[in-house]
């Protein structure tokens, strides 16, 4: 289980089998294949997340957050989005954290490879931020 921060809210994410089921029932699509398409996007633009399909990412985050709240009342995707007061969709921190939990939890073969890569990208981004600022 991983916690990410979107705006002021801290969300717990769980890449469990129930997240796959929630994704399928809520969006009528397969989480794994959508995740793979996001992964290839991230590979193309390592430091630039402006072309990232943020709706798809938010849908995956929603499914994992819902799995983390199993047994509790949970809003629909639109109501959930409405509950997030502020989000910076170009913030690599939360994108990489969410992708990290998803890639590491859903895919058995990666064995922490994505986590390493995500850490590298985060380092690069924080260095370039500190150089600018």
């Amino acid at each position: 289980m991983k916690k990410i921060k979107i705006g002021d809210k801290e969300l717990g994410l769980r890449a469990s089998p129930l997240a796959l089921f929630y994704y399928q029932t809520e969006f009528n699509k397969d989480l794994m294949s959508d995740l793979m398409s996001l992964q290839s996007m991230a590979e193309i633009n390592e430091n630039d997340f402006s072309d990232f399909d943020s709706v798809k990412l938010l849908q995956i985050i929603y499914a994992m957050n819902r799995a983390n709240n199993y047994g509790k009342e949970f809003p629909t995707f639109v109501a959930w989005l409405n509950g997030l007061e502020y989000m910076d969709l170009s913030d690599p921190e939360f994108i990489l954290d969410a992708m990290d939990e998803a890639m590491d939890g859903f895919f058995r073969s990666l064995n922490g490879e994505y986590q390493k890569k995500a850490e590298e990208i985060k380092d690069k981004v924080s260095k370039s931020k500190s150089e600018k600022g």
Binding site: S16, L18, F21, L31, A67, Y70, G105
Partner: protein
Amino acid sequence: MDLIILANAKKEGLSFEELNEFRVRDYVEFSNIYIGSNGNHKEPQSSDIARGPTQKDIDKLLS
């Protein structure tokens, strides 16, 4: 895929709550161990099966 996992988890005696404690990769690992397909599975040998008790065993127990 998702429904197959849920159905298999039910067969393995897991509740949704228990299943939700696993990440997908952990569940696959659990399943492999459960069905014994992690490469270490072997058919039970006759020496692995416990023999039934005989009158001699019962006499020994009661003496």
